[in-house]
Amino acid sequence: MTDTLTERWEAVCPQQRVEPERGVAALVDGTQVAIFRTYDDQLFAIENRDPIAGANVMSRGIVGSRGEAPTVASPLHKEVYDLRTGECLDVAGVAVRTFAVRVRDGMVEVSAT
């Protein structure tokens, strides 16, 4: 983890704007980020760009699980990604960037470093 002191967090939206098992897109420092909330209220953030199709759509994928992993499926061609690591579980060697995300004072914050 990055040193909390030098980390810059950007508040994105109120927590309830991210519905359980669904995602939203946000612009963080010019980068498109997809933020998801799982059924047990954990938050995850990954890059919104589908690395295979090249379109910014990941936030609109279906959230679920594969084995233990919380996942999201690309809405374009349904490749499934592990929300914790960004790793694509269907195509070896493909991954999306992940971002740290947390809730402070009811606001969802994404690490902008």
């Binding site: 939206c13 897109a25 910014n56 759509v57 994928g61 699980s65 499926a73 809405p75």
Partner: protein, 838 residues
């Protein structure tokens, strides 16, 4: 280019031309087909279906091919081998190669009276039409011949309402296929249908009425008299070798154009295939060997080396509703062979296995009354018995018995004899990823002709390592159908409850949309409320179709393809104002592309205000009911096809299903709306509507099958209601209606029984479910744009709702916006592999 002349356009001739044309990619051959009959090839095997109301068009095997010069009603009279021309009444046709596919003619025994009016043979559609015509107003009929054809003819006379007699010279019915005891069992079935059977007696004469104008009856060799107003002669067939013989070609001992295993005559330019050919002296009176010959000659003409491997004469038939099968050495002609027989008078099943003298090898057998073990047994001929004999023969043996049977089959055993596909080839296809029967069919052709091996394909799937698990995905062990029942019966209303109580994990992109569709089909209201929203695929979530660049397309409903100029103008204005690419779809509507998520509510506000509704192009739901202009304008139209299409589209709009549903209505038999390529298609007739089901375009195009004819509008709607609801309840996820019907035990007949005769007692339920749908329908887009809370979901960025996705940019092509993707990479789809089965 070389010239190929094909003599005869029957089943085999047609298959041959198709096989050659599909492989002759270099265009080596120019093909001329000279046909005696006035209509193009049709399915002679199913000829009798004509009396069940199947029309001549539906029996047609004809495929449009501009590369083939098909000359109907122009029989070949002579072949001049010196000058290499085929001579017809219309001219001379030079050839480099000539293929005889002239089939057989019915054998008519030399007795008096066969030329009387009212005496017919049973070979062509013309024969059947004449029989039907003559039978009007008559009461009695007789068939000469108690074999396969004779029994089919007897059933036809029965269906025409005649009291029917069958006269067979041999001591039993179907003497070629079944043995004594099997014949006796068959006779009991047949007599129960009020058909009088006379065996062991010949016909000595056909007698006219006293006025000499028509047939009156038969005198039999035992002296008895059978009265008949109509007589059908079905006493066997003879190969049509007359033209070949006159050209100086050799014929077999018992007739047939003599050819070698390449199907070539002594003249290297002349070939013979199908029933007219005597391959090394032997003729084959079934279609499957003929198809194999067709493939051989197609291959040879393109330089291949294929040979005809011989064919077994195993048959499985349903005659007068009775299953009859015989295979291998059915009569126990092998020296020292042993019989195992099984007779059950209670279930009226007779079965016999013929085994080698050491009782280890299966040689052949006969089944009457229940032929479910036929596929396994036939494929085991020549090998070890696939299980204990009684377990194999006892009815309902497709439980444990045949299952162990299929596993014990040798790999080289032919599972599909029509298309010569072995067990090894099918198992290979399964290992390469074919996971269901339609996939195996597409990849190996097994099961695509007579269909009798389909149960075996299912068993092979079941026993192959690729367990045919019905589990939807890792979260549910149930099939979609089972989940549907669970949700329905237990009244479950949320995915969370379902997955907690009946599944595991948190779901995925497979089970969530499937459950969403089930909940929607069961009338759980607006699809984006509460938890339901999280189940939806992005298309359903944003009520639009996602495109490659992450934008969406918008399709307003245009019922029946009918639209006023005012509404057209609105669509044009919306497209212009939002900079959308517009395209007319195949479903007679207009698709607007390039809308960003945050634009969708504004676009729809305008459309809804102008009276448009969601077209559900994004949903697994009814899409369009396409129509031709019908009797309102068209000079050929016989019914108002547009009116019906609009009514149907409005009735079923928004109905969620396992897959998309398409439909069309044509105003007359010319079928301009292409209704037969739809899940349910309707074609107007003079007195009502014909309903077709199970068609689709796409990857594996398929014509819909006739479900019922001449329906009133009320009956039509009732049947469609039930068809759709039954499909929604019982189909697998993403299974189109065609595959659903194909996979159904009993197929179309079963479906008809469920929908028309209410054989499962479900109809009241299905009717009520549709009624609920019709009542509770609301336009999803209106419900969305009228509710600010719902509209809020349509944002580009939660923290910058007014900023459009900066990565979406457009270029201009032919005056319209198109995605300007940095790297436009083609999308790779999993294509089915075509196996070559020879």
């Amino acid at each position: 280019m070389k010239s190929l002349v094909v003599v005869g356009n029957g089943m085999v001739g047609q298959r041959f031309v198709e096989a050659l044309r599909s492989r002759d990619t270099a265009g080596e051959w120019r093909v001329t087909v000279l046909a005696e009959e006035g209509r193009a090839a049709y399915d002679r095997v199913r000829l009798s279906a004509f009396f069940d109301g199947v029309s001549a068009e539906e029996l047609s095997l004809h495929t449009e091919d501009s590369g083939v010069d098909l000359r109907l009603g122009e029989p070949v009279m002579r072949v001049d081998r010196q000058r290499r021309v085929a001579v017809t009444g219309g001219g001379e046709y030079p050839y480099d190669a000539l293929v005889f596919a002239t089939g057989s003619y019915p054998f008519v025994p030399p007795v008096d009276g066969t030329d009387l009016p009212g005496v017919f043979v049973y070979r062509t559609l013309d024969d059947l039409e004449a029989i039907r015509e003559h039978a009007k107003g008559r009461r009695t009929g007789a068939v000469i011949g108690g074999g396969l054809l004779g029994l089919e003819a007897a059933n036809a006379l029965r269906l025409l309402g005649l009291s029917t007699h069958v006269v067979e010279f041999a001591p039993r019915l179907m003497p070629v296929q079944v043995d004594e005891a099997g014949g006796a069992m068959l006779r009991r079935y047949v007599e129960e249908l009020d058909v009088k059977v006379h065996t062991g007696t010949g016909t000595t004469a056909i007698r006219p009425r006293t006025d000499g104008q028509a047939v009156h009856g038969l005198t039999l060799s035992d002296g008895s008299w059978v009265q008949a107003d109509i007589v059908v002669v079905a006493a066997g067939i003879r190969p049509r070798d007359d033209v070949a013989r006159a050209a100086g070609l050799d014929t077999g001992e018992r007739g047939g154009i003599l050819v070698d295993t390449a199907c070539r005559t002594a003249d290297e330019r002349i070939w013979a295939i199908g029933e007219c050919a005597a391959v090394e002296g032997r003729c084959y009176g079934l279609v499957a060997p003929g198809y194999a010959m067709a493939e051989v000659v197609a291959d040879r003409l393109l330089g291949g080396q294929a040979t005809f491997p011989g064919a077994d004469m195993s048959t499985k038939l349903k005659l007068l509703g009775v299953d009859v099968a015989s295979f291998g050495d059915a009569h126990g002609a092998t020296e020292g062979c042993l019989d195992v027989t099984f007779t059950d008078p209670a279930t009226r099943v007779y079965a016999k296995l013929v085994l080698s003298d050491d009782a280890k090898t299966l040689l052949g057998g006969v089944l009457v009354g229940d032929a479910s073990a036929y596929p396994t047994l036939r494929a085991s001929v020549g090998g070890p018995l696939p299980g204990p004999p009684l377990a194999l023969l006892a009815p309902e043996s497709d439980g444990a018995g045949t299952r162990s049977g299929i596993a014990a089959l040798p790999g080289g055993a032919q599972v599909c004899s029509c298309n010569a596909v072995t067990k090894d080839q099918i198992v290979g296809a399964i290992h390469e990823g074919c996971a269901d029967v339609p996939a195996i069919k597409a990849c190996t052709r097994a099961g695509t002709s007579c269909g009798s091996c389909v149960p075996m394909l299912k068993q092979l799937l079941a026993v192959s390592g690729v367990q045919l698990s019905k589990a939807l995905c890792e979260h549910f062990e149930h099939s979609r159908q089972e989940l549907f029942e669970i949700v329905r019966v237990r009244g479950i209303r949320t995915f969370s409850q379902l997955v907690t109580e009946h599944g595991r994990g948190r779901g995925c992109d497979i089970c969530k949309p499937a459950v969403a569709s089930i909940l929607a089909s069961l009338g759980n209201g607006y699809v984006l409320d509460g938890e339901q929203a999280t189940l939806q695929d992005t298309n359903d979530h944003f009520l639009a179709n996602i495109q490659r660049d992450g934008t969406y397309s918008v399709v307003p409903r245009i019922p029946g393809g009918e639209i006023t100029p005012e509404k057209l103008i609105v669509i044009g204005e919306v497209a212009r104002d939002f900079g959308l690419y517009t395209k007319i779809t195949g479903g007679q509507r207009i698709d607007l592309f390039g809308a960003r998520v945050e634009q969708l509510p504004r676009i729809w506000r305008r459309l809804v205000d102008a009276g448009f509704e969601s077209g559900h192009a994004y949903g697994k739901a009814l899409r369009t009911v396409k129509s031709c202009v019908g009797s309102t304008w068209c000079r050929y139209g016989v019914q108002d096809s547009v009116g019906l299409a609009v009514a149907l589209e409005l009735r079923y709009r928004g109905l969620r299903a396992p897959h998309k549903i398409k439909s069309a209505v044509s105003g007359c038999a010319r079928e301009c709306a292409e209704a037969r390529s739809k899940d349910f298609g309707i074609i107007a007739t003079d007195s009502g509507w014909n309903l077709y089901v199970g068609g689709n375009g796409g990857f594996r195009p398929r014509h819909a099958d006739l479900f019922a004819s001449d329906l009133s509008t009320d009956d039509l709607v009732r049947y469609v209601d039930r068809f759709l609801m039954f499909y929604i309840r019982t189909a697998d996820r993403l299974q189109r209606t065609a595959a659903w019907i194909e996979a159904m035990d009993g197929g179309l007949d079963h479906l008809r029984a469920v929908i028309v005769d209410d054989s499962l007692g479900l109809c009241a339920d299905l009717d009520a479910a549709i009624a609920r749908h019709v009542e509770s329908y609301e336009d999803e887009w209106r419900a969305t744009v009228d509710d600010p809370e719902r509209v809020r979901r349509f944002t580009s960025f939660v923290n910058a709702p007014d900023t459009p996705d900066p990565s979406i940019t457009f270029a201009v092509e032919r005056g319209q916006p198109v995605p300007a993707l940095g790297e436009r990479r083609p999308v790779v789809l999993g294509l089915p592999t075509m196996g070559v089965s020879q």
